[in-house]
Symmetry: C2
Subunit: 206 residues, 2 copies
């Protein structure tokens, strides 16, 4: 029960790392086995197919990404809520910077994955409810005069675009502009501040 789970676990973790780094098409089960240091057949013993292994990871990562939104408390002030959300995702994504690209990448490149995801995620009541709650709140805040008139989906996309792109382009920023880890940290702090300014200005009423 030790080495057993140990290898199975290490395969999962390594697969995770490699898929996140190189994507589904760019990672082979041989790569994974090599990185773990075990026989390639073992990957298939535990997960049967590369697709199954991938899906498990993909689903988990997708949930990790959406969980916070599902449970977000849309209390009184939407502007404050928005700041909390950005704050949370900046922390979370600083620890997992390749997460958003990973999910986006596979959804964009693979139409079958989109179809599959449509069934599993979009038709999930919890998620539907969360979106309607959010949508209602936006409309209420607009009526209240606490928010500029805006489509809920637009608001969502604006926040997501600014936040996600910061992390998606991070490897490019690092490598192309040859930045050190310390510089990257400063840069991320700066980006977060900038995004909050944009959102505050962009959505304040009047």
């Amino acid at each position: 029960m030790n080495q057993i789970t140990q290898l199975e676990q290490r395969i999962l973790e390594t697969a995770e790392r490699l898929f996140l780094e190189k994507g589904f098409a760019g990672t082979s089960t041989t790569d994974i086995a090599r990185a773990v240091g075990c026989n390639q057949a073992l990957v298939h013993y535990y997960y049967r197919t590369k697709e199954r292994l991938f899906r498990g990871i993909f689903e988990q990562k997708m949930n990790l990404l959406l969980d916070y939104l599902d449970h977000a408390e849309y209390d009184g002030d939407l502007m404050q809520t928005m700041e909390r959300v950005v704050d949370f995702y900046f922390s979370m994504l600083s620890a997992n910077p390749r997460l958003p690209f990973f999910v986006m990448n596979e959804l964009v490149l693979n139409a079958e994955r989109r179809a599959w995801i449509r069934e599993v995620f979009i038709r999930d009541e919890r998620r539907q409810r969360a979106y309607y709650a959010f949508s209602d709140l936006v409309h209420r805040e607009i009526t209240k005069g606490a928010l500029r008139p805006v489509e809920p989906l637009d608001l969502l996309l604006d926040v997501v675009s600014l936040t996600v792109m910061t992390f998606v382009t991070l490897p490019i920023y690092q490598d192309l502009l040859e930045k050190s880890p310390a510089e990257v940290e400063t840069y991320l702090r700066g980006r977060k501040a900038e995004i909050l300014i944009m959102l505050r200005r962009g959505f304040s009423p009047a």
Copy 2:
């Protein structure tokens, strides 16, 4: 000189389409040949390696993407210039919606490609000059009081984030929310308007 160029051309066009759709790792020279309807060796006869074929396309697409910025006239009003830029890219990307993802994808997934790109693109004087001109203008406009204090890079990233993400997530929007082409067109018009509002509010002085 007819059938000659014809096949060479069709190989290039097909490669372009497939690379844009599935990425480098997801497209094989066999796929390309199959789609063209020619022998697979012909792809190698004209382009020698998959990597060379890809690089030609990648470089061309990257230039296509950056060309406008290199020649953008930063005249009097920055805000107006910004609107022209967004307007241009929305037209251009509506015709080539997979372009930004294609470039981003390869840069994020492939570190060697980043290194190569760093040499070819970043160390290009025209590009350097264009960026400095832009950076200077931003600082001048801030001093003039025509623009909120902001780092030029932040301004650039905000514009790029909002614009690019609209197109990157387009397949997801289409498929996951099951939208028709007509709905997509309306959606894009809406996004452009929304982005212009965000930018105007986000960067107007005071």
